[in-house]
């Protein structure tokens, strides 16, 4: 089983968001970066599939700045075999441009599976995986929460509103992973040491501007100060009155 996992370096979800002086981007000073949490499910799934098959290779691919080497090392410490960094100064706002760069790298790689996290927790773009699938003309299932593979066929389950979709697909395929698919492992010290010696290929990459232009990054609207209606069950009638008469939601 040869599996590619596309990963992204993202700010930790606990990050305090400070907008940079250009008014269009995150001020990265002091920000801690991590492996995108949804990508951890993808890395874990790739490792398990390879372990079950008893042979194969797990290749992690990241589009990002030089510092994303560290993110790739995290995946290598989990157990991936080698990494590829498509090095760019800045990840384009347009997901299709990111998809084009990744597809160019993956094309002809002979992968049985290409895995992504279902979305990145920084830009919430929610699109690069299925776009890569289209560009490579591969079958694709997104937000996979359960997966079975037998030979060249797979069955995946994905949550939809009010139910679960059971999707059959053929390999090779592109899948994006959701929470619930597995429990990602923590890199062990041995893995962290081993990761330092694993191959990591850095390729300077040019990405197009794309058709999405950032006009502004803004703080969310300030919710007007809430009020504590009162304490305990005695406050409930007043709450209901406010919901009816002031908020008008009942």
């Amino acid at each position: 089983m040869k599996i590619a996992v596309c990963i992204k370096r993202v700010p930790d979800s606990e990050t305090r968001v400070k907008i940079a002086s250009d008014g269009k981007s995150l001020d990265e000073a002091g920000v801690k970066f991590i492996l995108n949490p949804y990508d951890e499910f993808a890395v874990e799934e790739a490792l398990r599939r390879k372990e079950q098959a008893g042979a194969g290779e797990v290749v992690v691919v990241a589009l990002g700045p030089a510092a994303a080497q560290e993110t790739i090392r995290t995946a290598l410490a989990m157990g991936a075999d080698r990494g590829v960094l498509l090095q760019v100064d800045r990840i384009p706002a347009d997901g299709l441009e990111a998809a084009k760069a990744l597809a160019a790298e993956l094309e002809g790689g002979g992968y049985d599976l290409i895995l992504f996290g279902k979305m990145a927790i920084d830009d919430y773009n929610h699109q690069v995986g299925p776009m890569v699938a289209e560009l490579l003309d591969l079958p694709c299932v997104t937000t996979v929460a359960h997966l079975e593979i037998a030979g060249a066929r797979g069955t995946a389950e994905r949550e939809v509103e009010g139910g679960v979709e059971v999707v059959e697909f053929t390999l090779p395929a592109v899948l994006t992973t959701d929470k619930g698919l597995n429990e990602p492992r923590y890199p062990a010290l041995k893995g962290i040491m081993a990761a330092k010696k694993k191959p990591l290929d850095t390729k300077p990459t040019t990405v197009g501007q794309g058709g999405l232009e950032i006009l502004a990054l803004m703080p969310p609207p300030v919710r007007k100060d809430g009020k504590i209606v009162g304490e305990g069950a005695a406050a409930v009638p007043e709450l209901v009155r406010l919901l009816r008469e002031e908020a008008k939601v009942l």
């Binding site: 299709l96 919430y124 699109q127 289209e134 058709g211 990054l217 803004m218 409930v236």
Partner: protein, 332 residues
């Protein structure tokens, strides 16, 4: 061309509510661009009553593309048929729902057309002739305003944000139907087929789409206590769903499908009632676009009170049953 295409959703031959929101968003863009709005639905056969309903929300024309394989979502068949329809129609913008289906479908169509996509937007507009959107990023801690410098501009709308607006001049929209040709290469499932949709509990609303969400966290103390939240949700007479924080989902008390937050669902209900939830940033990411937030928590310093419009400090096991009684009184 300045037309806008609204891509609708049906399940079991009936339009899903989010379709009205998509038409409403498309109409807003259509008005700003000075164009007409076509509503497109893919189905195995006729979708009942849709033209009249959709006319009221702003569709000028309802187009049904039929194929035997379109009864359920067929990722490859749908994306192919929509991309072809968009190419032929020369639309200026295409609007999807950012539902489970829409978020899967829109990127495929965008890649086929070679144009950018903005997913899960909470606002749309037109500035100097270009479509602009606003989307929450960084767990809702910031909003990104983008210009889509391409035609067509593809966007998907966050559910429950674009409140359907019935127009005063409610007209019956023109309707048209076309069969998508062929077996294998046409509309058919091809390499990816939805075999079945296992329905959740009958009649249960999905947290992502319910107008009212009652969510519980660790403060509920044990799984059986979610019964009091189910009773509260039930008091709203079929308009409320029960959600859960990550902590209780990870503990196995509630299914992941109910989880609200960064690694769960993003919800924008009219009313969100957080019960026994402290309000970690990852939870806020999933519900801060709710119109009205109520928090019930025994800790007056819980962060949830910072985003709540109304709070009650107290023992949820006393407050919630009282609230259920009061809501029942309202709903008679």
């Amino acid at each position: 061309m300045s037309g806008v295409l609204a891509v609708l959703e049906q399940r079991d031959g009936a339009l899903r509510k989010v379709s009205h929101e998509v038409v409403t968003g498309a109409r807003r863009l259509g008005d700003a661009l000075g164009g007409t709005v076509d509503a497109l639905v893919l189905a195995a056969g006729a979708v009942g009553g849709s033209a009249d309903q959709l006319g009221a929300f702003g569709a000028d024309k309802v187009i049904t593309l039929t194929h035997a394989a379109f009864a359920r979502y067929a990722p490859e068949g749908y994306s192919r048929a929509i991309a072809e329809h968009v190419r032929a129609g020369g639309y200026r913008a295409v609007v999807f729902a950012a539902s489970a289906t829409g978020k899967d479908l829109a990127p495929r169509v965008a890649a086929r057309l070679g144009v950018p996509l903005a997913q899960d937007v909470t606002d749309v507009g037109v500035e100097s002739g270009a479509v602009t959107v606003v989307r929450p990023v960084y767990a809702g801690k910031a909003l990104l305003k983008l210009k889509l410098a391409a035609s067509p501009a593809l966007v998907s709308l966050r559910p429950n944000v674009f409140t359907p607006v019935q127009r005063p001049k409610a007209g019956v929209a023109e309707s048209a139907a076309a069969a998508v040709p062929g077996g294998g290469g046409g509309g058919g499932g091809g390499r990816v087929t939805v075999r079945e949709v296992k329905a959740a509990q009958a009649g249960a609303l999905d947290v992502a789409e319910a107008p009212i969400v009652v969510s519980g966290g660790r403060g509920l103390k044990e799984p059986a206590n979610f019964k009091i939240l189910e009773e509260l949700a039930g008091a709203f007479g079929g308009t409320a769903a029960v959600g859960a924080s990550r902590a209780v989902v990870d503990a196995g008390w509630r299914p992941h499908a109910d989880q609200v937050g960064q690694t769960g669902k993003t919800v924008s209900p009219t009313l969100y009632i957080a019960v026994g939830i402290s309000g970690a940033i990852q939870h806020l990411a999933g519900m801060r676009t709710a119109k009205v937030i109520v928090a019930i928590n025994k800790d007056k310093d819980a962060p949830i009170f910072k985003v709540a419009d109304y709070g009650i400090v107290g023992d949820l096991f006393e407050v919630v049953p009282k609230l259920t009684d009061e809501i029942r009184k309202l709903h008679g």
